[in-house]
Amino acid sequence: MNAPAYNFAYLDEQTKRMIRRAILKAIAIPGYQVPFASREMPMPYGWGTGGVQVTAAILGPQDVLKVIDQGSDDTTNAISIRKFFAKTAGVATTTSTIDATVIQTRHRIPETGLHANQVLVYQVPIPEPLRFLEPRETETRRMHALAEYGLMHVKLYEDIARFGHIATAYAYPVKVNARYVMDPSPTPKFDNPKMDNCPALQLFGAGREKRIYAIPPYTQVVSLDFEDHPFEPYRFNAPCALCGAENSYLDEIVTDDKGSRMFVCSDTDYCEGRQAAGHHGAMSAAPYKDKAQGEANG
């Protein structure tokens, strides 16, 4: 009765070996999509089955896991994946970016700079950056093999012709190590510069599409652009309403049905950290709390 129903971190050891081999190959060829025998996971495709498998393969008992979804530690997806590993691997979990050794993420890179002992695991829906321009898989593979990336610029050209600027706001294509063009998963292009020369290892897992790719630490990652239309990270021009941060990526939150909205950091850990350090934004409740506390004490 006490025998565990499944192995440490859910996947059996042979599966983990298979995934680790794919990961090693991916690290050896930065930006190259390595096929792997993706398994069924106890969650639907689109909820991070690729990321979960990569995390399961690299997780050790000493690791501290953080899971974020759109920057937030407390959404359904983030909480359930965190609980999944807390239960199946018994690893420590955290919401702090600095304390984590493995961070699984969907659609964001934490605002706090990553360090050398961390691994960032991305959940990827569609790993092929050329997919919507060239539907044939045989052809896209050949294009990667021969480094024929003119088509990627056709997409950017279309953006400028239609909107007057490069309107691609997320999943903005990058060139890794001056060789492979890669889809950074649907992170906002605001996060693209963080991938360049990052001290942490970045792994990308696409479960449904059965691909793993990687950016090793300290690798050059360049966002594609035109000379006369250079890459520009986009950010809504406002401070965070809660912590007042001027340089973080913001979520727009609709607060009533009369058009009111607030802009807050999408990275909840970063925002909470700043508030704890005494930074306040225009809509922060902290001053009132302090006042109420003061009145209660006085």
Binding site: L133, R142, L146, E148, G150, L151, H153, V154, Y157, E158, I160, A161, R162, F226, E227, D228, H229
Partner: protein
Amino acid sequence: MADLLETDQPLLIANALSKSYGRIVACRDVSFALYPGEVLAIVGESGSGKSTLLQMLSGQLAASGGQVSYRMRDSVTRDLASLGEAERRLLFRTDWGFVHQDPAQGLRMAVSAGANVGERLMAVGWNHYGRIRESASDWLARVEIDVARIDDAPRTYSGGMRQRLQIARNLVTEPRLVFMDEPTGGLDVSVQARLLDLLRNLVAELHLAVVIVTHDLAVARLLSHRVMVMKGGRVIETGLTDQVLDDPREPYTQLLVSSILPP
């Protein structure tokens, strides 16, 4: 003097080209040399092996026998079969053009005309939006497409415009050799005439070598310098266009020529 040397040597040489599919022989023992600035028409009825020959010449289909050599921009003549895939593809999008009968095959129907023309430039490393666009509008004007439609997708274009756009897309990298597979097929007569007129001017102006496959002798007469008549996979007659069309020697060619309705 340099020009003389340039035109002295053949650009494309076919040597005993054959293609068979099992027992069916699609094309047998075709040899010719094409010089810079020369337009060669391959005429013949459906199933005579014209398109098979064109595909072999352009390196899209491996020949069962014989070889195709091409004089590269560095003046070295090389066997196409000895080129790596990367080199062949580079050749295809820089020094060569291929005009399909159906523009949908040669164009990206969902992206704008400007991007269609600019794609080859971006593929060879152009990285300046303004210059790509300038070059694209320049080429649209040269093929008589209203520059105001540069941002429209070719699926909103008429058949004749699509074909002209396809030509612009192929010529933007200033190729030396263009393959054309029935470029006027499926167009009405007045649009055909305009397209042929345009092609003839461009060919002369850019000193293009062209291999054009057609079953329309009028197209051959208007565009080409030389004609090759094919039947059952063989070349049965070859010579200067006027000579072959005005004074056909082979019975089959005589039949072809006489089956044109008198104007």
